[in-house]
Amino acid sequence: MDARALIVCAAMAVAAGLVGCFAVMRRMTLAADAFSHVALPGIGLALVFRLNPLIGALAALLAGSMLIWAIEGKTNLSTEAITGVVFSVALAIGSLTATGEELIDALFGAPGSMTIAETVFALVAALAVTGFILKARDRLLVSLVSTEVAIASGIGVASLQLSFLVAFAVTVALGMRYLGVLLMGSLIIIPATVAKRLARSIDGMFAIAIGSALVSTLLGSWIAALTVRPSGPIIVAIAGGLFFVSLLKS
């Protein structure tokens, strides 16, 4: 595994671990997994127009997060319910717009080295997501405990929610290259779930989630390179293993 891929994997794992902490605490676990499927129609359309699938995936995820946020503001439906609807529709449109090997690669990740442009995008995006979560952690934490308390504390809850959904969308797109969008949802959720079980403070949760995501990603990528197998399933299998180990804690 080359140094460039190693750095990208590490940056992706840090972003996924951090975003996952709030997704798990906000009880968005299933919604988060389903949300990654929103990338499908974008990937399909990008392939039709011979664009980089990453651009299509990112555009679809951003549009999806805007749509979910707008519906959430207009109705009293939960994020989970709205994501369920948007995800199903996206899946239907996605399967109509594209088929083929490239789509499979986008879904499950592809081996091989990244282009310079892909590397730069991945690093900038991972840095932006990490920076956002660390900067917004206090606001996210208070709005998690109570929306009313957050509003009374002067937090713009609606814009914070949109920013979080966008950070989530960017993180999913970030993982597309190595894990594929379907498995990236798992890398966001599983390390954070491990951390929720083991941690007793928010800093502890961040540290354990990032650590678990890094171990899964780096170890998984190394084993994948050794065995010449796709990296995504191995990474998720290792994360799943860590979760089962965390169950040993009473």
Binding site: D138, V142, V149, I151, A199, S201
Partner: protein, 246 residues
Amino acid sequence: MPTELPNQDAALGGAVLEVSHLSVSFDHTAILADLSFTVARGASLAVIGPNGSGKTVLFRALIGAIQYEGTIRWAPGTKFGYVPQKLDIERDLPITGRDLLRAKLTISHAAKEEALHALERVDLREEVLVKPIGSMSGGQFQRLLVAFALIGKPDVLLLDEPAAGVDAPGQEALNAALRRLQQEEAITTLLISHDLSVVYRYASSVLCLARERSCIGPPQVVLTPERLSEIYGTPISFHLHDDHGR
């Protein structure tokens, strides 16, 4: 959800809050209709009424969390702290009391000493803060929320049944802390409560919300058996403890 913040520009004389012709509806069902009242600076307003009469909805409108018709005017620069009803917190959430207070210090750009002072005022020991909030007792968590609300030096505290679901000693500690805040620091308090004896003893005025007719006045006037049975639709009496009586 996009929200419209209450207007803070108008001059209100000695009042900290002026509400006029406030109406809130959900799905075409009126929850609050044409409600008007003012709150003087330093006053302690208790909000009473049967379940479903819109007490929490009123508070949510006052902080700008929901859309409404009519006007809500806070005195310019008013800062408020909000203490919600018992929150449904997951027991295994890895958020400690310290995490929560540290978050409020950052958000309100306050110094660490403010958190320590707030803890003293609600009589909560610092050691409790290392516990995850889900494993605190009901009384500890509610006092933590009051301490949270006090950081940032609010002029007004909105307390939505802060003692609900808290055991008797916890209620006593919470009520004592609130009483000190109101009497010693003259913070304006708006308190939703079902405990009419607490309301009678500590409120300077009482706002009763009832579907047919809302009213506001001093506790001695509003909390009469006739008025109460009119508000609740059933005869109501409450017991005043002599040791705390006015």
